[in-house]
Every structure is written in C-alpha cells, then in structure tokens.
C-alpha cells in the first residue's frame, strides 16, 4: 500500500496512532479505544489519506468477545451490535436463541428486556462465534455450550457498574516471530491512561 501512496502523494509518512477512538466506526453503543495499533498514512498536505486497521474482522470479533464477557447488562443496542459483529441475520440469531424474530426485534428496539437465560445464551453464542471460524456458524447453541460450560459462572449481569460508562480498550498483541499486521491478536489493554 505504501508504494501506491508514493505514486499519488510523493513520499508518504506514516504514524501509529497512540489512541484511536473506534466507537464510531464500529457503531458500538459503548466506547472502544485502540492503543498503539492503528496506522495512518499522511499525505503531503498533512491530511490522513489512509487508515490501516490491522485485522479489522478480528477487531470486530475481539470487541464482541470482550463485551460478552463484561458483566454490564446487555441492552437493545448491545444486542444489535453483537448481531452485526457476528454477521447474523435476525432470523438466524432468533433461532439460535430460541426466540421468535418478532421478539428479537422488540429486544433490539428496547421495547423488551433480555431475560437472564436469553442473555446468557447470547453471551455464550457471542464468545463461541468470536472464538471460532465462520464455518462454525451452523453449529447449534447446545454444541457451543458443551465447550463453554462454566465460563460465565463468575459473571453476574448488572445494569451499571459504579455508574461508569462502559469502555473496552484493546491493543494489538504481537506474536513472537510473526507479522503483527496479519498474525497478531487483539487483546484487552489492562491499564487505560
């Protein structure tokens, strides 16, 4: 990509963004910050001509994964985000959760609230799909659950945690000997500055 930019804009400069706010681009109902992972290509005029997000599909899955493991109760916007992140049509997700598409629509609109059992099913499904390849999408929830027994035992969904807005902070974890752009992993950033 850099050689292409060089043709159009002269010698490009690149920079790693200290903190990239990905909330808007992910359409997430909570804050998502990416630390030292996103690269920007700067043109001669000083404007950003290109944004390089390593493994965007992996990022979407990682955010969904960490949201599913966060105890704050899932609301309709969270449900919409998770469905989008899992690439699931409403009918497919409704079937996996054992609810009607109409009920799922009411849940997403906020007209209805997720029952604890449905919420746990959704969290289980999200973690399972976020950890597996897209080929696993046809697996049933029961099949996923066999491998995820106990993972949510310590998570007690609650509406608010100290009234703080939900924030998910991630960074690109380098795997030794691998290209960080293509073979790294999105991991949670424990210390948020």
């Amino acid at each position: 990509m850099l050689e292409i930019s060089a043709v159009k804009c002269g010698v490009p400069t690149t920079r790693i963004v200290d903190v990239f706010d990905a909330t808007g681009i992910l359409c997430a109902p909570f804050e998502v910050l990416l630390y030292n992972s996103v690269q920007e290509v700067i043109g001669e005029d000083g404007n950003v001509v290109e944004t390089i997000i390593p493994d965007p599909a992996g990022l979407v899955r990682a955010v969904a994964f960490h949201r599913a493991l966060h105890p704050q109760k899932l609301d309709g916007d969270d449900l919409k985000f998770l469905r989008s992140a899992l690439d699931l049509k409403a009918t497919a997700l409704a079937k996996k959760m054992g609810v009607s598409p109409e009920h799922l629509s009411r849940l997403e609109s906020g007209a209805k609230t997720l029952q604890p059992q449905s919420e746990q099913q959704l969290r289980t499904l999200t973690v399972a799909l976020a950890c597996t390849s897209t080929k696993a999408k046809d697996a049933t929830l029961a099949e996923f659950s066999k491998h995820l027994m106990g993972i949510f035992d310590d998570i007690k969904p609650c509406r608010l945690i100290d009234d703080a807005p939900l924030l998910i902070a991630l960074h690109r974890e380098k795997i030794d000997g691998c290209d960080m752009d293509t073979e790294g992993l999105w991991d949670e950033t424990a210390q948020v500055a």
Binding site: G24, C27, I53, L59, S84
Partner: protein, 108 residues
Amino acid sequence: MAANEAFETEFLREFANTYVSQITYAGGTWSDIDKIQDQGFLVGLADVLYVLKTGSVTTSEKRDSDGAFWEVEGMTCHDDNLVIRTQVWCDCYKVRVLNVAILGEKYA
C-alpha cells in the same frame, strides 16, 4: 451480471474472507459512516466487512496506475442497503475502502 462483474464479485468475496487484514480505509471513510449514523442509519465496520463478503460488484472502472475502482452493492445483516466504493489492486491483493453510502445516494 456481466462476466467481468461476476469475476470481480468472486474475487472480492474471496479477498474479504481470506485477506481481510489487507483491507484499508481512505481518510474520509469514517466521516461518511458518521454522517450515515447521524441520519439514523446505523452502519459500522462489521457491516462494511459483511457487504464486502456477500455483496456484488455492480460497476467497475479500470485505471492503469491506480488499479481499479469497484462499486459493491449489498445488504448488512440488519437488511440495510449499502453501496461501498473500493479501490482494488488485483495483482497485489489489496483493497481500499473509499466510501460507504446508502443505496441510491450520490457520493459526496
């Protein structure tokens, strides 16, 4: 669908499934997404990737030094119609997303 468009669609779908880390985004892409969200039409990175993986190339324009410009039409998993404008270099397997728009809207 013309033969070349079928090939381009197949290429893009395979690309989006296999070489996802090589998809980059032009500087203004996020402001376009924000604009769409302001209109109450929610679209995010997952939707863009979904349309690239499942949509179809509807128009293409070859530019020798800059690869080709393809427009991809598709639906998000929330059944919203999207058009995504991309710049593609088939020889080096790179795709840059230039613009995301609601179907039927003219590009800025």
